[in-house]
């Protein structure tokens, strides 16, 4: 699972039982949210949704959590493709699912 380091704002990938404790964000999907591609492409800081990333990380860091679940790591445009893939691999992936090690941590782009 991909987690954001709450201090360095870097992405880290964890597999299986190695995943550390993490905090998670609950919010409504609004305009100009930072997607995974935006995040990786370094476009995040210019976006309106960036304050959610930094705010959440700052709060988590203050509370002593090193990681938060990275937000919305799916390109909006290709969401359907990804979901199709996810569906077809579902039986194979359901084992992973239970261990919480899915390669992308958010496949919803809307609420």
């Amino acid at each position: 699972m991909r987690l954001i380091d709450t201090v360095t704002l870097e992405l880290h990938e964890f597999f299986g039982k190695d995943a550390p404790l993490y905090a998670i964000l609950s919010h409504r999907w609004e305009e100009d949210e930072v997607t995974f591609q935006d995040f990786r492409g370094g476009r995040g800081p210019e976006m309106r949704g960036w304050s959610k990333v930094t705010g959440c990380c700052a709060q988590a860091a203050k509370d002593g959590w090193q990681y938060v679940v990275s937000l919305h790591q799916v390109i909006r445009g290709s969401l359907f493709c990804l979901l199709g893939l996810f569906s077809s691999f579902y039986p194979l992936m359901s084992g992973w699912w239970q261990m919480g090690t899915i390669g992308f941590t958010s496949f919803r782009s809307h609420d």
């Binding site: 998670i24 964000l25 609950s26 409504r28 959590w65 699912w97």
Partner: protein, 435 residues
């Protein structure tokens, strides 16, 4: 998704429409209680799954936790089991989702999978069918019959066995599991509909409830409303039977039923099949009117040479007559006072003595159904109506026209709808020839 929230050490709920952490968040019109965060489908599981939730205003100032805001959250969301959602009945969980919205229709179902511990593939594009699929998955996993207890006898556009949308569970916040007949076998989905073994009683309220479509049956479910306190009251499915072991769900009713002992239950249970869709088109009437007129607009059939050869009327409880003053066709006029009362009108339209069209309408004060049958040969209306009762389980979509074919192969369909007519509103049975 649900799993990540369940396993998270902490969930930060960021409410961007709460401008300030200060102020009384418990107040009726506070920004917190009015926040859109409470109106979205996905945020339901994000509230229920994590062990710890902290709430933040737009500037990331904390203003409370799930515990400290418990009272307000419960009152805004209607969730009685805020810290142990798994203790709630299926209908109760659905009721929590009943007022929430999602951008995509499929998400109305997908955002509830975690709450019911259901894993199913996501198929965006399936639309509202996703919610039916979710309910079928739930049915295959639990003995909780409250999933069938949605809506009410008066609820509108609710035809079918399973609800089309979580909104129909809106009144189910107090529906709980209870034991009426504990030992019955679990329901099974078949190609004839949902197979159930239930104890069935004929509805006794009112005198004669016999209409063209037969009596109304009640099948008590293993659930009750906590607000109903008199005696052993259970929620019962109201059913009608178009033929043999086929049944259709008409609604739900709370009623007192005598205790059944196990041996009696075992010997008297009946195996029935309930289809998702009804075979007949239904119209919901405006409330508050006891008398109504329904015009059979038969002009398209007349132009093909059909003539009215027989008329049939039956009214259990109220009164009914044919009004022949309209040149477009006979008008069925009636009044009914009780929901259990049914009036029926049927027309036999004949051509060449071997080609008959039978159009029927059955009405209660709140709704009407229409069907049309094609009969070959020289049958009387009575005989045709008898034949009607046991035939045709067509899968048609709700609100669709009832489709048939004339003897010569031409498509004929019929529907009932409200129309504004000279001198006010009128319900019209209209016939359409051709595709």
């Amino acid at each position: 998704m649900f799993g990540w929230y369940r396993q998270a050490e902490m969930c930060y709920a960021y409410l961007s429409d709460v401008p300030s952490a200060t102020g009384d968040h418990a107040e009726a019109n506070s920004a917190f209680r009015c926040s859109k965060w409470f109106t979205r489908g996905w945020t339901l599981q994000e509230l229920l799954a994590p062990l710890w939730v902290q709430f933040y205003d737009v500037n990331w100032n904390e203003f409370g936790t799930k515990e400290s805001l418990e009272f307000s959250i419960k009152s805004v969301t209607g969730i009685t089991y805020l810290f142990n959602y798994d203790k709630a009945s299926v209908a109760q969980k659905m009721s929590w989702a009943s007022k929430r919205e999602t951008t995509r229709p499929e998400d109305q179902a997908y955002c509830l999978m975690g709450l019911f511990d259901i894993h199913m593939p996501l198929l965006y594009g399936e639309g509202q069918k996703a919610f039916l699929r979710l309910q079928r998955e739930i049915l295959s996993k639990t003995e909780d019959e409250s999933i069938l207890a949605w809506g009410g006898i008066e609820s509108r556009s609710t035809d079918g066995l399973l609800a089309n949308t979580p909104a129909l569970f809106g009144g189910c916040g107090d529906v709980q599991c209870a034991i009426f007949d504990a030992g019955r076998p679990p329901p099974i989905m078949t190609n004839k509909g949902l197979r159930l073994e239930l104890l069935i009683v004929t509805a006794t309220k009112g005198s004669a409830v016999q209409g063209l479509h037969g009596p109304i049956y009640l099948a008590p479910l293993n659930c009750t409303r906590s607000s109903v306190t008199i005696g052993r009251s259970f929620l019962a499915l109201c059913l009608r039977s178009p033929g043999q072991d086929d049944y259709e769900r008409l609604g739900i009713r709370a009623q007192e039923f005598p205790v059944v002992n196990l041996a009696k239950a075992k010997s008297e249970r009946r195996t029935i099949y309930i289809k998702q869709h009804h075979q007949l088109q239904t119209v919901w009437f405006d409330k508050g009117y006891y008398a109504r007129k329904i015009l059979f607009r038969i002009s398209p059939l007349r132009s093909l040479g059909f003539q009215v050869s027989e008329k049939f009327l039956r009214s259990a409880g109220g009164g009914a007559y044919w009004d022949l003053s309209n040149s477009e066709g006979p008008t069925f006029a009636y009044f009914l006072l009780m929901e259990d009362q049914i009036a029926t009108a049927a027309l036999l339209l004949a051509r060449n003595s071997t080609d008959n069209v039978v159009a029927t309408v059955a009405v209660t004060p709140s709704r009407g159904r229409v069907d049309v049958g094609i009969e070959k040969g020289n049958k009387s209306l009575q005989e045709s109506i008898q034949a009607f009762r046991s035939v045709r389980m067509l899968e048609i979509d709700r609100d669709d026209r009832v489709p048939r074919h004339l003897v010569d192969g031409r498509p004929l369909s019929v529907a009932i709808s409200k129309q504004i007519h000279t001198g006010g509103q009128i319900y019209v049975v209209d016939f359409k020839i051709g595709g």
